[in-house]
Symmetry: C2
Subunit: 459 residues, 2 copies
Amino acid sequence: MLDSRIIDQLRQIVGKDQVSAEKADLICYSYDATQQKFMPDVVVHPQTSEQISRIMRLANTEKVPVFPRGAGSGFTGGSLPTKGGIVLTTERMDKILEIDEENLVAVVQPGVVTEQFQIAVEKVGLFYPPDPASLKFSTLGGNVAECAGGPRCVKYGVTKDYILGLEVVTPTGDIITTGGPTMKGVVGYDLTKLMCGSEGTLGIVTRIVIKLLPLPEAKKTMLVLFDSIDGAAQAVSAIVRNKIIPTTLEFMDGRTLDCVKQATGLQVPDAARAVLIIEVDGDREFLDKQARRIADIIQPLGVVETRIAETPEESEALWQIRRSVSASLRKVNPDKYNEDICVPRSKVPEMIRKVDEISDRYGVPIVNFGHAGDGNIHVNIMIDKKIPGEQEKAEKAIKEVFEGALALGGTMSGEHGIGIAKAPYIPLEITPETALYMKTLKKALDPNNILNPGKIFLD
Amino acid sequence: MLDSRIIDQLRQIVGKDQVSAEKADLICYSYDATQQKFMPDVVVHPQTSEQISRIMRLANTEKVPVFPRGAGSGFTGGSLPTKGGIVLTTERMDKILEIDEENLVAVVQPGVVTEQFQIAVEKVGLFYPPDPASLKFSTLGGNVAECAGGPRCVKYGVTKDYILGLEVVTPTGDIITTGGPTMKGVVGYDLTKLMCGSEGTLGIVTRIVIKLLPLPEAKKTMLVLFDSIDGAAQAVSAIVRNKIIPTTLEFMDGRTLDCVKQATGLQVPDAARAVLIIEVDGDREFLDKQARRIADIIQPLGVVETRIAETPEESEALWQIRRSVSASLRKVNPDKYNEDICVPRSKVPEMIRKVDEISDRYGVPIVNFGHAGDGNIHVNIMIDKKIPGEQEKAEKAIKEVFEGALALGGTMSGEHGIGIAKAPYIPLEITPETALYMKTLKKALDPNNILNPGKIFLD
């Protein structure tokens, strides 16, 4: 329990209505998408960077940990208050401050919901590409902290590629600004990109300067069924080799397809053992030509069937198949470990074979889908935790999946981050020397270890 | 002078032929493109990261500063050995280690010359876009250290956008690896981007993992003469508003055009007071359509004349006009201060008017050209240093140019960096709090201040 004196001081900083130590409120801020729970002592809702600065100074004086939080939609526990203390949520800092149509730049507060921002810029013909699956509720501040990805990243890159500048409150309570609204800038260290993906451990983002693109005129979706995952993977390489970078190149393996068929009654030929959903965007007239070219390129690679959407409704129907995956999986088993390894694109088939082998060996169902275009595979280990021994098997399987990805030149996480969920596995990927460099940096910037302690590297 | 014992130890580390303390050799490593000179005590040519690690450990033990150097083509003194000590050049680490055509990734040593690398990847149908003006001699290691830009950055982004991973020797001599060959990765802090543009102060890059693109099928160049800089600037905005992002959008102001006319005898109508060189790339068939569309879009904006290249030779002739700028300027005055401010794209005309006003007020010729598409203006202050008082006037003018850019939401440098040339102006752009964050980081990672001391922030 936090001293009531500290809670009083927090009330003085942000106002009475913006602080709660009521149990019912605390519970709301105790979990994230990992379904793990840690109770904070108090939740504060600051509305300005000055308030956040004062909170951080107080926390340093009193040695109370602070856990910044967006929507709490993260998959790895990055916002969980693992040591109690203060949950600092930016959800009430939710204003779009500027959309500069001339310079294709926007300025927002961190609590703006990703999809709301996309809708706002699309209204004026602009485009913010990053599209994490959580975009209906995740916030841009959280997206920056985790460096969120999504299906469109194949063509357009990840969150950090769109962040031009930030205002940040440092772990010790200074307010700093990084980058700015220009397309280029090399004055001092690139703290903007350092913050992106630092999981709320190096600073609290209070304002975000975002680069926008012109909204593509149109898009075209196609769903292609292949007789093997190798055919689908070769198709991805062949498309890229032909100088086409589609907006999305999503895949599902045979096991995922089985789940979807079973759950939704989707009618596909029995020969189909892998799916690619390919979307291209750009000039309307050019798209038809491009879709036909893609169909020609991939035809020899074991295509069982190709469906090209001719209307937005047909496109939506194709995407609905992809969206039904998560719900379908729940019918396999109630508990899901959702990992997101990333390997060089050409290694996807080999990785899927490894995962299938691990799945068979441990007798735990594992289904794979995700972003084939950038080698980012969502590996879903489906178990029933109520069955004794299942959790242990899943954990062993996860470790082997990570080791398998690393052996192929890959990484443990393409977009979900480390948080606490993957922190125990960090030594598999990061050498002691590299870890020391990172920890030295964190320690220098947060000498009292106040800001989101115990994330990425377990204390 | 460095103790001969230390020079002997360096010889033991890298071999006798890879160390020189001869004056003639030292002179070769005493200058860069700023034309300033600082003599080092010794030059070493390591060939492995292990050797560099040992050099850094020795330097820390002996408290000798180390100045890493690529080709020495920087404009801001980032590689100058301002405190004597060791110049560590990576020019003999010049191997392209891998070009992975399947995954569009290359791995190189830091001493590979930028253009040589571009030629090598283009041979296999791939593309490395960053194109600093120095590309015929600058090295990729130097490009990473400075985060080099170039004309193609409007469409394709800067060096850091292509760096996926690095091997780095830290200031204390550890060998660390950052990132990797995957398109996504969020494990730990993004040290890769932190190194990019850190001007050799946070680590010495020893291996670079580079993202490549498919080589565009074709390109098309057009040169457009406008009756005012405002027309040219409006043209840039209008093109982008029409969802076209050209590969390059280079501009020259009226004063630059005057220099080129005078020096080369270029024939253009007297009404021409600004030039845009626009290049688009991509699908051959699509390009003609796009070039015509651009011509239509910009026609109402004061176009005096449009020249569209129909052949590669005609394209080359148009680019020759742009390339003649630097030589033409030398005819105005012998000494050039080449600044590279960057402002939001829409502010370019206002910035040019400010610069013209500063030029007139101080009576020093200033000509502007550069990358209009991303607001990156090369401001060239032309003086004759032999004339008493000229240098002081130039320095006052530069400060006002920087202040002008910052007042428009811009930055002092889009691609040249800070080094020592702009270090005195850092407080204009970076707040004391932000500078403290950066300095804390440097101090923690380089406790003895051995690696490139006195750069970015004057000691």
